[in-house]
């Protein structure tokens, strides 16, 4: 089971608390987590990654285990701590202010 932590604006679309649990086929990868997330919550399609290209949206980041995974290969295995559910896979919006 993978724990995914969503940014607050997307919880309006999922109707859930910020953390959701997903069953993801091993080996867990960023792409598989997002596939499972979008399958369970179709309203998220196009909000984290682009339709068609599946490219991560520019102002969205993926963190886990104190690392920025945003630029990693989306098909690379996630850290064991994420795959085992000990650590969450964090989806977040870039900081902005002003």
């Amino acid at each position: 089971m993978i724990r995914v932590l969503l940014p607050a604006p997307l919880c309006e679309l999922t109707g859930t608390e910020r953390e959701v649990d997903l069953e993801v086929e091993a080996p867990a990868t960023t792409a598989r987590v997002l596939d499972a997330l979008e399958a369970r919550f179709p309203a998220l399609r196009g909000t984290i990654r682009e339709h068609g290209t599946k490219k991560r949206r520019a102002y969205v980041r993926f963190f886990a285990c104190r690392r920025d995974l945003s630029h990693d290969d989306p098909d690379a295995p996630l850290p064991d701590e994420v795959a085992s559910g000990r650590e969450p896979f964090i989806v977040l919006g870039a900081m902005s202010g002003g």
């Binding site: 940014p7 604006p9 309006e12 682009e50 339709h51 068609g52």
Partner: protein, 371 residues
């Protein structure tokens, strides 16, 4: 008993304001989609409880929400806006070719007869249509691929298609406006398009009389005279009486002919409303006074409407989709400001009251007159 529903889109969510036909006691419901930009929401003329809404953010992109119960509940529908075929390029701000890239939906125009058909005007400029209640979208690509498309350039707000009018006599006749390419008309349901900008004069472009390149801010049309169009251009208020084949200026005695909104009285096709804005550099109410100007002569002769509106130290803007009229008699006129106020006049503009204050900056206002 007749009631009024006002759909307000703002920088940080949507609000639904309701009142009975007296238009005196208002209830505010919202924010819906708090924190998201709601560029526009509009109800179907054929089924007023069917409402389409554009929800977007720079972070998480575009969503389309649909309500089947007048805005009490919403469901996300399709949000994939894929340009058809080779996307090609338009001109970027510096004149270089730039690929067409979808950014957001500026305007949703439900079909006059079919609640499941709705048009979407998007940035970068293109027209999409859904025939299944918003679940899927197809581009009417004849507009974007018009011979002039490669020459279109964005205005400061982006290359946006912000106005869609469907002729009440002929559903296949469509008018759209793009900043800053100009106005276009299709007579075949959106397959082929022609620029309709003859008579527009824009000093901000190399050839002021060019076929395209004009920054049209808004078009308006009265349903009983669909060949008569009114336009608030970047500068100049314009009028056409031949479905856009030719235009003439009717700015007349306005204190500033720059502005964004323009609308027509529900029952008087020669009565118009605009809100003069100081200039393209300043983008606030002309002379720091929030005034609606009304013409009862189809333009040229304008009177300021000020009762109930701030007449000093007012530096808000009224954006292009942020004015609407109801179908009551006397006609109600509504507009929202970037300061987050929504005003209504229940007597065709003579007196104004704020029906909401201090909302997020208002992007759009639509009104439904419900039986």
């Amino acid at each position: 008993m007749t009631s009024i529903r006002v759909l307000v889109g703002t920088r940080k969510g949507a609000f639904v304001l309701t009142a009975d036909g007296q238009r005196k006691r208002w209830t505010i419901d919202g924010p819906h989609f708090a924190g998201w930009e709601v560029f526009h929401a509009k109800g179907s003329p054929a089924d007023p409880d069917r409402i389409y809404l554009s929800q977007s953010s720079s972070w998480f992109g575009q969503l389309i929400q649909r309500s089947n119960d007048g805005g009490r509940s919403w469901e996300p529908v399709g949000n994939e806006f894929a340009y058809r075929g080779d996307t090609g390029t338009h001109q970027w701000y510096d004149g270089t070719p730039h690929p067409w890239e979808f950014a957001r939906v500026w305007h949703l125009e439900p079909d006059r007869a079919d609640p499941d058909t709705v048009f979407a005007g998007v940035e970068d400029a293109a027209l999409f249509r859904s025939r299944d209640g918003g679940r899927s979208w197809e581009e009417l690509s004849g507009l974007r691929t018009h011979d002039t498309g490669a020459l279109w350039q964005p205005g400061a707000g982006g290359l946006c298609l912000h106005t869609i009018l469907q002729d009440p006599r002929d559903a296949d006749r469509l008018f759209v406006a793009v900043s800053s390419a100009g106005a276009f008309r299709s007579d075949d349901g959106g397959a082929r398009w022609k620029p309709i900008n003859r008579g527009l004069v824009s000093e901000q472009i190399p050839d002021p009389h060019a076929e395209i390149g004009h920054c049209v801010h808004r078009l308006a049309q009265h349903p009983t005279r669909p060949d008569t169009l009114f336009m608030q251009k970047h500068y100049d208020v314009m009028r056409s009486d031949d479905a856009g084949e030719s235009w003439r200026e009717v700015s007349g005695n306005l204190p500033s002919d720059f502005g964004f909104v323009i609308d027509v009285h529900a029952h008087e096709p020669e009565t118009l409303y605009v809100v003069p804005i100081e200039s393209d550099a300043l983008h606030y109410a002309a002379e720091g006074r929030l005034r609606v100007f009304r013409s009862r002569t189809g333009g040229n002769e304008w009177e300021p409407l000020t009762q109930g509106l701030p007449q000093a130290h007012c530096y808000v803007n009224v954006l292009r989709d942020a004015m609407a009229v109801d179908r009551m008699d006397p006609c109600g006129v509504y507009f929202g400001t970037t300061g987050g106020d929504v005003y209504v006049s229940a007597d065709a503009g003579d007196h104004w009251v704020a029906i909401a204050n201090n909302l997020p900056a208002v992007l759009s206002v639509e009104v439904q007159t419900l039986p």
